[in-house]
Amino acid sequence: MLVKLFATLKDRAGANAITLAAEGEFTVRELRALIAAQHPKLAELAARSIVAINHEFAFDDDVVRATDEVALFPPVSGGRP
């Protein structure tokens, strides 16, 4: 499966997406571990970045399917209110 990357994560990976060997269903927590294992450069960022599944925010217990659109990115640039 493909994981889209934005901002700091894109720069760290040197690409706007990474491929991940993954099948079936797993949790967001497991997704983070898969990324860390297969893309060590992203290990630290993968642990604390935001995960989106099919354009919705996802949380550690949520289920990811290998067919979902998955993205990893830092908190958005809110700026001081």
Binding site: A7, P75, S77, G78
Partner: protein, 149 residues
């Protein structure tokens, strides 16, 4: 009733005159426009230019969600425009616009625009890279979305 909702992510300059016209219905006597601009000076820091990047498909969905939330909270507003510019921008240029029309100035357009920009800055996946005299870096926010965001 025809209540325009304009959601846009674009590399083109933001045209406030066009947005004002686009959100104004014949029942409207008040339009509030908020624009975020590229700040050149923040305290002792200087910024030369800014580049915005969006996760476009998700950002469009989240802009629509912000518009829906605005309508749910501010029942008297009519037109809404939420426009995020992406790409490189110079100092002083609008990077984002939140535009709200209503019949009268006390009908919640000010409050809806303020709510809209606050939510947009929390949940719409857009990032900015600042170029300063000492190099460039992504600016990260600190809002972590929760369930329902």
């Amino acid at each position: 009733m025809n209540e325009p909702t304009i959601i846009r992510i674009t590399a083109d300059p933001i045209d406030l005159n066009a947005l004002q016209r686009a959100v104004t219905t014949p029942r409207d006597g008040a339009v509030v426009l908020f624009t975020g601009t590229v700040r050149g000076v923040t305290g002792a820091e200087r910024t030369d230019k800014l580049e915005y990047e969006a996760y476009t498909e998700m950002a469009m969905a989240k802009l629509q969600q912000v518009a829906d939330e605005m309508r749910a909270k501010f029942a008297l507003i009519h037109g809404i425009a939420l426009v995020q510019r992406v790409g490189e921008m110079a100092i002083g240029e609008p990077t984002v616009a939140v535009v709200v029309s209503a019949g009268h100035r006390g009908d919640g357009a000010f409050e809806a625009a303020r709510y809209g920009i606050d939510r947009l800055k929390q949940i719409v996946p857009v990032w900015k890279k600042e170029t300063r005299p000492d190099g460039s870096a992504w600016v990260e926010g600190d809002y972590l979305p929760g369930r329902g965001d």
